[in-house]
Protein backbone atom coordinates (compact mmCIF):
# COMPACT_ATOMS: atom_id res chain seq x y z
CA UNK A 1 0.00 0.00 0.00
CA UNK A 2 1.16 3.46 -0.89
CA UNK A 3 1.09 4.71 2.68
CA UNK A 4 3.37 1.97 3.91
CA UNK A 5 5.84 2.59 1.10
CA UNK A 6 5.97 6.25 2.11
CA UNK A 7 6.53 5.43 5.76
CA UNK A 8 9.10 2.80 4.91
CA UNK A 9 11.16 5.37 2.98
CA UNK A 10 11.14 7.71 5.96
CA UNK A 11 12.04 4.77 8.20
CA UNK A 12 15.00 3.77 6.03
CA UNK A 13 16.21 7.37 5.78
CA UNK A 14 16.12 7.69 9.58
CA UNK A 15 17.43 4.23 10.41
CA UNK A 16 20.68 5.46 11.97
CA UNK A 17 19.00 8.29 13.87
CA UNK A 18 16.43 5.86 15.29
CA UNK A 19 19.14 3.37 16.32
CA UNK A 20 20.98 6.17 18.11
CA UNK A 21 17.76 7.25 19.74
CA UNK A 22 16.92 3.75 21.02
CA UNK A 23 20.48 3.32 22.28
CA UNK A 24 20.34 6.68 24.06
CA UNK A 25 17.24 5.42 25.91
CA UNK A 26 19.25 2.46 27.20
CA UNK A 27 18.27 -0.17 24.63
CA UNK A 28 21.77 -1.74 24.86
CA UNK A 29 22.28 -5.06 23.10
CA UNK A 30 18.63 -5.20 22.13
CA UNK A 31 18.84 -2.07 19.96
CA UNK A 32 18.67 -3.85 16.58
CA UNK A 33 15.80 -6.10 17.70
CA UNK A 34 13.94 -3.12 19.07
CA UNK A 35 14.31 -1.28 15.77
CA UNK A 36 12.68 -4.28 14.07
CA UNK A 37 9.89 -4.31 16.65
CA UNK A 38 9.49 -0.57 16.18
CA UNK A 39 8.93 -1.00 12.45
CA UNK A 40 6.34 -3.74 12.95
CA UNK A 41 4.45 -1.64 15.48
CA UNK A 42 4.70 1.57 13.50
CA UNK A 43 3.59 -0.04 10.23
CA UNK A 44 0.82 -2.02 11.93
CA UNK A 45 -0.55 0.92 13.88
CA UNK A 46 -1.38 3.14 10.95
CA UNK A 47 -5.04 3.86 10.41
CA UNK A 48 -4.85 7.03 8.35
CA UNK A 49 -2.53 9.56 6.78
CA UNK A 50 0.30 10.72 9.04
CA UNK A 51 1.05 14.42 9.21
CA UNK A 52 4.70 14.03 10.17
CA UNK A 53 6.06 10.52 9.50
CA UNK A 54 9.44 11.24 11.11
CA UNK A 55 7.84 12.40 14.36
CA UNK A 56 5.44 9.46 14.18
CA UNK A 57 8.40 7.05 14.12
CA UNK A 58 10.27 8.78 16.95
CA UNK A 59 7.06 8.90 18.96
CA UNK A 60 6.57 5.18 18.43
CA UNK A 61 10.22 4.61 19.43
CA UNK A 62 9.66 6.63 22.61
CA UNK A 63 6.58 4.59 23.53
CA UNK A 64 8.45 1.38 22.84
CA UNK A 65 11.27 2.39 25.19
CA UNK A 66 8.82 3.56 27.85
CA UNK A 67 7.09 0.16 27.74
CA UNK A 68 10.40 -1.64 27.83
CA UNK A 69 11.78 0.29 30.76
CA UNK A 70 8.52 -0.06 32.65
CA UNK A 71 8.50 -3.82 32.28
CA UNK A 72 12.17 -3.97 33.34
CA UNK A 73 11.35 -1.94 36.44
CA UNK A 74 8.37 -4.19 37.24
CA UNK A 75 10.55 -7.26 36.83
CA UNK A 76 13.12 -6.03 39.34
CA UNK A 77 10.38 -4.92 41.74
CA UNK A 78 8.80 -8.38 41.60
CA UNK A 79 12.15 -10.00 42.38
CA UNK A 80 12.68 -7.66 45.33
CA UNK A 81 9.17 -8.22 46.69
CA UNK A 82 9.66 -11.94 46.38
CA UNK A 83 12.85 -11.92 48.38
CA UNK A 84 11.21 -9.67 51.01
CA UNK A 85 8.34 -12.12 51.33
CA UNK A 86 10.39 -15.28 51.39
CA UNK A 87 12.51 -13.83 54.23
CA UNK A 88 9.50 -14.09 56.47
CA UNK A 89 7.99 -17.11 58.10
CA UNK A 90 4.55 -18.20 56.98
CA UNK A 91 1.86 -17.00 59.38
CA UNK A 92 3.97 -14.19 60.81
CA UNK A 93 2.11 -10.92 61.39
CA UNK A 94 4.19 -9.35 58.65
CA UNK A 95 2.41 -11.52 56.10
CA UNK A 96 -1.01 -10.34 57.22
CA UNK A 97 -2.02 -7.40 55.09
CA UNK A 98 -3.38 -5.39 58.01
CA UNK A 99 -5.21 -2.12 57.64
CA UNK A 100 -2.12 0.05 57.74
CA UNK A 101 0.23 -2.25 55.90
CA UNK A 102 -0.10 -0.80 52.42
CA UNK A 103 -1.63 2.34 51.11
CA UNK A 104 -4.86 1.16 49.61
CA UNK A 105 -6.40 2.58 46.47
CA UNK A 106 -8.80 4.85 48.27
CA UNK A 107 -6.27 6.47 50.58
CA UNK A 108 -3.95 6.93 47.64
CA UNK A 109 -6.68 8.63 45.63
CA UNK A 110 -7.63 10.90 48.54
CA UNK A 111 -3.98 11.78 49.10
CA UNK A 112 -3.41 12.64 45.44
CA UNK A 113 -6.68 14.61 45.26
CA UNK A 114 -5.72 16.67 48.31
CA UNK A 115 -2.28 17.43 46.87
CA UNK A 116 -3.65 18.33 43.43
CA UNK A 117 -6.08 20.73 45.09
CA UNK A 118 -3.07 22.76 46.25
CA UNK A 119 -2.08 23.50 42.65
CA UNK A 120 -3.21 26.67 40.91
CA UNK A 121 -6.47 25.61 39.19
CA UNK A 122 -5.26 26.93 35.85
CA UNK A 123 -2.18 24.69 35.86
CA UNK A 124 -4.27 21.62 36.60
CA UNK A 125 -6.87 22.41 33.97
CA UNK A 126 -4.15 23.01 31.35
CA UNK A 127 -2.60 19.68 32.31
CA UNK A 128 -5.95 17.89 31.95
CA UNK A 129 -6.65 19.48 28.59
CA UNK A 130 -3.20 18.49 27.38
CA UNK A 131 -2.72 15.00 28.79
CA UNK A 132 -6.31 13.77 29.01
CA UNK A 133 -7.92 15.85 26.27
CA UNK A 134 -5.03 15.40 23.84
CA UNK A 135 -4.81 19.07 22.88
CA UNK A 136 -1.44 20.47 21.83
CA UNK A 137 0.29 23.16 23.86
CA UNK A 138 -0.14 25.56 20.94
CA UNK A 139 -3.91 24.98 20.84
CA UNK A 140 -4.22 25.51 24.58
CA UNK A 141 -2.07 28.66 24.47
CA UNK A 142 -4.22 30.07 21.65
CA UNK A 143 -7.45 29.12 23.40
CA UNK A 144 -6.48 30.76 26.69
CA UNK A 145 -4.55 33.68 25.22
CA UNK A 146 -1.39 32.66 27.10
CA UNK A 147 2.22 32.44 25.96
CA UNK A 148 3.84 29.11 25.13
CA UNK A 149 6.27 29.52 28.03
CA UNK A 150 3.41 30.02 30.51
CA UNK A 151 1.82 26.78 29.34
CA UNK A 152 5.18 25.02 29.67
CA UNK A 153 5.80 26.26 33.18
CA UNK A 154 2.27 25.32 34.30
CA UNK A 155 2.74 21.82 32.89
CA UNK A 156 6.18 21.48 34.48
CA UNK A 157 4.64 22.38 37.84
CA UNK A 158 2.10 19.53 37.56
CA UNK A 159 4.66 16.98 36.34
CA UNK A 160 6.94 17.98 39.23
CA UNK A 161 4.14 17.52 41.75
CA UNK A 162 3.20 14.12 40.32
CA UNK A 163 6.84 13.04 40.53
CA UNK A 164 7.03 14.27 44.14
CA UNK A 165 3.85 12.38 45.02
CA UNK A 166 5.11 9.21 43.37
CA UNK A 167 8.34 9.42 45.39
CA UNK A 168 6.42 9.92 48.62
CA UNK A 169 4.13 6.99 47.88
CA UNK A 170 7.13 4.80 47.06
CA UNK A 171 8.88 5.76 50.29
CA UNK A 172 5.88 4.88 52.43
CA UNK A 173 5.64 1.28 51.31
CA UNK A 174 9.13 0.03 52.25
CA UNK A 175 8.94 2.03 55.48
CA UNK A 176 5.82 0.12 56.47
CA UNK A 177 7.41 -3.19 55.54
CA UNK A 178 10.41 -2.44 57.72
CA UNK A 179 8.15 -1.35 60.52
CA UNK A 180 6.14 -4.58 60.57
CA UNK A 181 9.35 -6.57 60.19
CA UNK A 182 10.63 -5.14 63.51
CA UNK A 183 7.43 -6.12 65.25
CA UNK A 184 7.94 -9.79 64.44
CA UNK A 185 11.33 -9.95 66.05
Amino acid sequence: MLKHDGLQKVFEANREALLRYLRAHGAGDATEDLLQELWLKAAGGISGPIASPRSYLFRAATNLMIDRRRSEAQQSRRERDWSDLSDRLPGSPANDPGPERLIDGRRKLDFVAAELAKLPPRALSIFREHRLGGRTQREIAAGLGLSASTIESDLRMVYRLLDDLKRRLDEEEPARLRHSGQETE
Partner: protein, 310 residues
Protein backbone atom coordinates in the same frame (compact mmCIF):
# COMPACT_ATOMS: atom_id res chain seq x y z
CA UNK B 1 16.34 8.73 43.56
CA UNK B 2 19.83 10.06 43.97
CA UNK B 3 19.74 12.37 40.97
CA UNK B 4 20.56 16.04 41.42
CA UNK B 5 17.75 18.62 41.51
CA UNK B 6 19.24 20.11 38.38
CA UNK B 7 18.99 16.82 36.50
CA UNK B 8 15.42 16.32 37.62
CA UNK B 9 14.42 19.77 36.37
CA UNK B 10 16.09 19.05 33.03
CA UNK B 11 14.20 15.75 32.77
CA UNK B 12 10.90 17.48 33.60
CA UNK B 13 11.62 20.07 30.92
CA UNK B 14 12.11 17.33 28.37
CA UNK B 15 8.96 15.58 29.52
CA UNK B 16 6.98 18.80 29.01
CA UNK B 17 8.42 19.18 25.52
CA UNK B 18 8.27 15.58 24.29
CA UNK B 19 4.72 15.00 25.55
CA UNK B 20 3.44 17.71 23.22
CA UNK B 21 1.97 16.07 20.09
CA UNK B 22 3.63 18.88 18.06
CA UNK B 23 7.14 18.11 19.39
CA UNK B 24 9.74 17.56 16.66
CA UNK B 25 13.12 18.26 18.33
CA UNK B 26 14.09 14.58 18.30
CA UNK B 27 17.75 15.15 17.37
CA UNK B 28 18.23 17.62 20.18
CA UNK B 29 16.54 15.20 22.57
CA UNK B 30 18.77 12.34 21.36
CA UNK B 31 21.85 14.48 22.03
CA UNK B 32 20.68 15.21 25.58
CA UNK B 33 19.99 11.54 26.28
CA UNK B 34 23.35 10.51 24.84
CA UNK B 35 25.21 12.95 27.10
CA UNK B 36 24.79 10.57 30.06
CA UNK B 37 22.86 7.40 30.93
CA UNK B 38 21.69 9.26 34.04
CA UNK B 39 19.72 11.57 31.74
CA UNK B 40 17.62 8.78 30.31
CA UNK B 41 17.14 7.29 33.81
CA UNK B 42 15.86 10.65 35.06
CA UNK B 43 13.57 11.05 32.04
CA UNK B 44 12.05 7.58 32.42
CA UNK B 45 11.59 8.12 36.14
CA UNK B 46 9.52 11.23 35.47
CA UNK B 47 7.60 9.38 32.72
CA UNK B 48 6.81 6.51 35.11
CA UNK B 49 5.63 8.90 37.85
CA UNK B 50 3.20 10.56 35.49
CA UNK B 51 2.03 7.26 33.97
CA UNK B 52 1.26 5.87 37.41
CA UNK B 53 -0.61 8.92 38.67
CA UNK B 54 -2.41 10.02 35.50
CA UNK B 55 -5.30 7.55 36.01
CA UNK B 56 -5.80 9.08 39.46
CA UNK B 57 -5.83 12.59 38.04
CA UNK B 58 -8.41 11.35 35.57
CA UNK B 59 -10.51 9.74 38.30
CA UNK B 60 -10.58 12.95 40.33
CA UNK B 61 -13.25 15.23 38.98
CA UNK B 62 -12.23 18.67 37.83
CA UNK B 63 -12.37 21.13 39.49
CA UNK B 64 -10.91 19.34 42.47
CA UNK B 65 -13.30 20.16 45.29
CA UNK B 66 -14.25 16.97 47.03
CA UNK B 67 -11.71 14.19 47.09
CA UNK B 68 -13.25 11.08 45.61
CA UNK B 69 -14.45 8.45 48.01
CA UNK B 70 -13.72 5.21 46.25
CA UNK B 71 -10.74 3.51 44.69
CA UNK B 72 -9.97 4.53 41.12
CA UNK B 73 -10.94 1.26 39.47
CA UNK B 74 -14.31 1.00 41.16
CA UNK B 75 -14.90 4.62 40.47
CA UNK B 76 -14.38 4.21 36.73
CA UNK B 77 -16.86 1.37 36.74
CA UNK B 78 -19.37 3.47 38.61
CA UNK B 79 -19.03 6.34 36.19
CA UNK B 80 -19.64 4.13 33.22
CA UNK B 81 -22.68 2.68 34.94
CA UNK B 82 -23.79 6.12 36.00
CA UNK B 83 -23.77 7.21 32.38
CA UNK B 84 -26.14 4.47 31.34
CA UNK B 85 -28.35 4.87 34.39
CA UNK B 86 -28.83 8.61 33.98
CA UNK B 87 -30.07 8.15 30.46
CA UNK B 88 -32.43 5.43 31.57
CA UNK B 89 -33.80 7.74 34.27
CA UNK B 90 -34.11 10.56 31.76
CA UNK B 91 -36.08 8.43 29.36
CA UNK B 92 -38.27 7.00 32.10
CA UNK B 93 -39.01 10.41 33.62
CA UNK B 94 -39.73 11.99 30.26
CA UNK B 95 -42.11 9.20 29.29
CA UNK B 96 -44.06 9.66 32.48
CA UNK B 97 -44.54 13.38 31.95
CA UNK B 98 -45.64 13.89 28.36
CA UNK B 99 -46.50 10.52 26.96
CA UNK B 100 -48.03 11.41 23.58
CA UNK B 101 -45.04 13.33 22.23
CA UNK B 102 -42.50 11.00 23.62
CA UNK B 103 -43.13 7.69 21.99
CA UNK B 104 -39.90 7.04 20.10
CA UNK B 105 -40.20 7.68 16.37
CA UNK B 106 -38.77 4.71 14.57
CA UNK B 107 -37.24 4.78 11.12
CA UNK B 108 -35.83 2.00 9.04
CA UNK B 109 -34.48 1.68 5.53
CA UNK B 110 -34.47 -1.36 3.32
CA UNK B 111 -31.21 -2.61 1.88
CA UNK B 112 -29.84 -0.18 -0.68
CA UNK B 113 -32.14 2.73 0.31
CA UNK B 114 -30.70 6.04 1.43
CA UNK B 115 -33.04 8.41 3.28
CA UNK B 116 -32.60 11.89 4.74
CA UNK B 117 -34.42 12.95 7.91
CA UNK B 118 -34.64 16.52 9.22
CA UNK B 119 -33.69 16.85 12.88
CA UNK B 120 -34.87 20.44 13.26
CA UNK B 121 -33.31 23.61 11.89
CA UNK B 122 -30.81 22.78 9.16
CA UNK B 123 -29.64 19.67 10.95
CA UNK B 124 -29.85 16.51 8.91
CA UNK B 125 -29.53 12.84 9.47
CA UNK B 126 -28.84 10.60 6.47
CA UNK B 127 -29.61 6.90 6.86
CA UNK B 128 -27.81 4.34 4.77
CA UNK B 129 -29.64 1.21 3.61
CA UNK B 130 -30.30 -1.59 6.08
CA UNK B 131 -30.50 0.80 9.01
CA UNK B 132 -32.88 0.86 11.97
CA UNK B 133 -33.00 3.71 14.46
CA UNK B 134 -35.30 5.56 16.85
CA UNK B 135 -35.50 9.27 17.59
CA UNK B 136 -36.12 9.71 21.29
CA UNK B 137 -36.16 12.42 23.94
CA UNK B 138 -38.50 15.39 24.31
CA UNK B 139 -37.13 17.18 21.26
CA UNK B 140 -36.33 13.97 19.37
CA UNK B 141 -32.69 14.90 19.07
CA UNK B 142 -31.44 11.69 20.61
CA UNK B 143 -30.74 9.11 17.94
CA UNK B 144 -30.62 5.49 19.07
CA UNK B 145 -29.06 3.30 16.38
CA UNK B 146 -30.16 -0.31 16.51
CA UNK B 147 -28.30 -1.38 13.42
CA UNK B 148 -26.74 0.20 10.35
CA UNK B 149 -25.06 3.45 9.41
CA UNK B 150 -25.94 7.13 9.67
CA UNK B 151 -24.35 10.42 8.69
CA UNK B 152 -25.09 13.47 10.82
CA UNK B 153 -24.72 16.96 9.40
CA UNK B 154 -25.23 19.29 12.33
CA UNK B 155 -24.72 22.88 11.32
CA UNK B 156 -27.47 24.68 13.15
CA UNK B 157 -25.98 26.45 16.15
CA UNK B 158 -29.46 27.50 17.36
CA UNK B 159 -30.65 23.96 17.83
CA UNK B 160 -29.60 21.96 20.87
CA UNK B 161 -27.00 19.25 20.87
CA UNK B 162 -27.67 15.95 19.24
CA UNK B 163 -26.94 12.78 21.15
CA UNK B 164 -26.30 9.47 19.44
CA UNK B 165 -26.64 6.21 21.33
CA UNK B 166 -25.16 3.03 19.91
CA UNK B 167 -25.45 0.17 22.40
CA UNK B 168 -23.74 1.42 25.56
CA UNK B 169 -21.81 4.16 23.73
CA UNK B 170 -23.07 7.74 23.98
CA UNK B 171 -21.88 10.49 21.65
CA UNK B 172 -22.53 14.23 21.87
CA UNK B 173 -21.86 16.51 18.92
CA UNK B 174 -19.87 19.72 19.12
CA UNK B 175 -21.14 21.30 15.85
CA UNK B 176 -20.13 18.74 13.35
CA UNK B 177 -20.35 16.26 10.51
CA UNK B 178 -19.83 12.67 11.52
CA UNK B 179 -20.82 9.13 10.70
CA UNK B 180 -21.79 6.33 13.03
CA UNK B 181 -22.06 2.71 11.95
CA UNK B 182 -23.35 -0.09 14.17
CA UNK B 183 -22.80 -3.68 13.18
CA UNK B 184 -23.87 -6.26 15.78
CA UNK B 185 -22.29 -4.90 18.97
CA UNK B 186 -19.46 -3.03 17.22
CA UNK B 187 -19.60 0.71 16.71
CA UNK B 188 -17.46 2.83 14.40
CA UNK B 189 -17.47 6.63 14.56
CA UNK B 190 -15.76 8.83 11.94
CA UNK B 191 -15.61 12.60 12.35
CA UNK B 192 -14.99 14.80 9.31
CA UNK B 193 -15.78 18.25 10.76
CA UNK B 194 -15.98 19.70 14.26
CA UNK B 195 -15.78 17.18 17.05
CA UNK B 196 -17.78 14.60 18.98
CA UNK B 197 -17.51 13.72 22.66
CA UNK B 198 -17.87 10.00 23.40
CA UNK B 199 -19.12 8.79 26.78
CA UNK B 200 -19.81 12.36 27.98
CA UNK B 201 -20.54 11.25 31.55
CA UNK B 202 -17.46 9.09 31.93
CA UNK B 203 -14.43 8.91 29.68
CA UNK B 204 -15.27 12.22 27.94
CA UNK B 205 -13.18 11.20 24.96
CA UNK B 206 -13.02 13.91 22.34
CA UNK B 207 -13.02 12.62 18.77
CA UNK B 208 -11.77 15.48 16.63
CA UNK B 209 -12.09 16.01 12.88
CA UNK B 210 -9.84 13.49 11.14
CA UNK B 211 -10.23 10.88 13.88
CA UNK B 212 -12.19 7.71 14.35
CA UNK B 213 -13.30 5.53 17.22
CA UNK B 214 -13.78 1.78 16.94
CA UNK B 215 -15.35 0.13 19.94
CA UNK B 216 -17.81 -2.50 21.05
CA UNK B 217 -20.47 -2.70 23.75
CA UNK B 218 -18.92 -3.32 27.15
CA UNK B 219 -15.51 -1.91 26.19
CA UNK B 220 -13.70 -0.48 29.22
CA UNK B 221 -11.48 1.96 27.35
CA UNK B 222 -12.12 4.22 24.39
CA UNK B 223 -9.33 5.38 22.10
CA UNK B 224 -9.55 7.70 19.11
CA UNK B 225 -7.14 7.21 16.23
CA UNK B 226 -6.25 9.28 13.19
CA UNK B 227 -8.05 8.35 10.01
CA UNK B 228 -8.84 9.35 6.47
CA UNK B 229 -12.18 11.14 6.54
CA UNK B 230 -12.84 11.51 2.83
CA UNK B 231 -15.01 8.42 3.25
CA UNK B 232 -17.40 10.06 5.75
CA UNK B 233 -20.90 9.95 4.31
CA UNK B 234 -19.59 8.64 0.99
CA UNK B 235 -22.46 6.12 0.94
CA UNK B 236 -24.76 9.05 0.20
CA UNK B 237 -23.01 9.74 -3.11
CA UNK B 238 -22.88 6.11 -4.17
CA UNK B 239 -19.15 5.75 -3.46
CA UNK B 240 -17.42 3.91 -0.66
CA UNK B 241 -13.94 5.23 0.07
CA UNK B 242 -11.46 3.37 2.28
CA UNK B 243 -7.99 3.70 3.61
CA UNK B 244 -6.68 0.63 5.36
CA UNK B 245 -10.14 -0.51 6.45
CA UNK B 246 -10.71 -4.06 7.81
CA UNK B 247 -12.49 -6.14 5.16
CA UNK B 248 -15.23 -7.11 7.64
CA UNK B 249 -16.28 -3.44 7.80
CA UNK B 250 -16.14 -3.09 4.01
CA UNK B 251 -18.38 -6.13 3.61
CA UNK B 252 -20.88 -4.81 6.18
CA UNK B 253 -20.98 -1.45 4.34
CA UNK B 254 -21.52 -3.21 1.01
CA UNK B 255 -24.40 -5.22 2.42
CA UNK B 256 -26.10 -2.05 3.61
CA UNK B 257 -25.45 -0.04 0.48
CA UNK B 258 -26.22 -2.60 -2.19
CA UNK B 259 -28.78 -4.77 -0.47
CA UNK B 260 -26.82 -7.79 -1.71
CA UNK B 261 -25.93 -10.39 0.89
CA UNK B 262 -22.14 -10.31 0.81
CA UNK B 263 -20.23 -12.23 3.43
CA UNK B 264 -16.53 -12.73 4.10
CA UNK B 265 -14.81 -15.90 5.16
CA UNK B 266 -13.39 -15.37 8.69
CA UNK B 267 -9.91 -16.14 7.37
CA UNK B 268 -9.90 -12.91 5.34
CA UNK B 269 -12.18 -10.61 7.33
CA UNK B 270 -9.19 -9.08 9.12
CA UNK B 271 -7.45 -8.10 5.87
CA UNK B 272 -7.33 -4.42 5.02
CA UNK B 273 -8.50 -2.57 1.97
CA UNK B 274 -7.67 0.85 0.55
CA UNK B 275 -9.53 2.21 -2.44
CA UNK B 276 -12.88 3.38 -3.81
CA UNK B 277 -15.85 1.19 -4.61
CA UNK B 278 -18.79 2.32 -6.73
CA UNK B 279 -22.03 1.02 -5.26
CA UNK B 280 -23.69 1.01 -8.70
CA UNK B 281 -20.89 -1.03 -10.28
CA UNK B 282 -20.90 -3.54 -7.45
CA UNK B 283 -24.69 -3.90 -7.76
CA UNK B 284 -24.42 -4.38 -11.53
CA UNK B 285 -21.60 -6.91 -11.30
CA UNK B 286 -20.94 -8.32 -7.80
CA UNK B 287 -18.12 -10.45 -9.14
CA UNK B 288 -16.13 -7.33 -10.02
CA UNK B 289 -15.37 -7.10 -6.29
CA UNK B 290 -13.00 -10.04 -6.50
CA UNK B 291 -10.14 -8.32 -8.33
CA UNK B 292 -10.85 -4.99 -6.61
CA UNK B 293 -10.47 -6.45 -3.13
CA UNK B 294 -7.90 -9.03 -4.15
CA UNK B 295 -10.04 -11.98 -3.03
CA UNK B 296 -11.89 -14.90 -4.57
CA UNK B 297 -15.65 -14.46 -4.81
CA UNK B 298 -18.25 -17.14 -5.27
CA UNK B 299 -22.01 -17.44 -5.32
CA UNK B 300 -23.49 -18.84 -2.08
CA UNK B 301 -27.06 -19.91 -1.42
CA UNK B 302 -28.03 -16.43 -0.19
CA UNK B 303 -25.64 -14.08 -1.94
CA UNK B 304 -21.92 -13.85 -2.48
CA UNK B 305 -19.08 -15.13 -0.37
CA UNK B 306 -15.58 -13.60 -0.34
CA UNK B 307 -12.71 -15.98 0.31
CA UNK B 308 -8.95 -16.10 0.27
CA UNK B 309 -7.49 -17.04 -3.07
CA UNK B 310 -6.91 -20.77 -2.78
Amino acid sequence: MTESPHLREAALDWLVRTNDPDFDGWDEFTAWLEASPANSDAYHRAVASEAELLPLVEAIEAPVETPAKSSPDRRMGQRRLAAAASVAIFIAAATAVVVPRLTPVEHSTGPGDVRTIALGGQDQLVMNGGTRLALIGWDRRTVRIEQGQVLLRLRDADEGKVEVVSGDLHLIDVGTVFEVARNGTDTRVLVSEGAVVADPAGARLKIAAGQRLDTEDGAQTLKATATDVSSVGSFESGQLVYLDEPLANVVADLRRSTGIDFSADPSISGRRFSGTLSIREVKRDPQSLGPLLGVAIERSTQGWKLKGKG
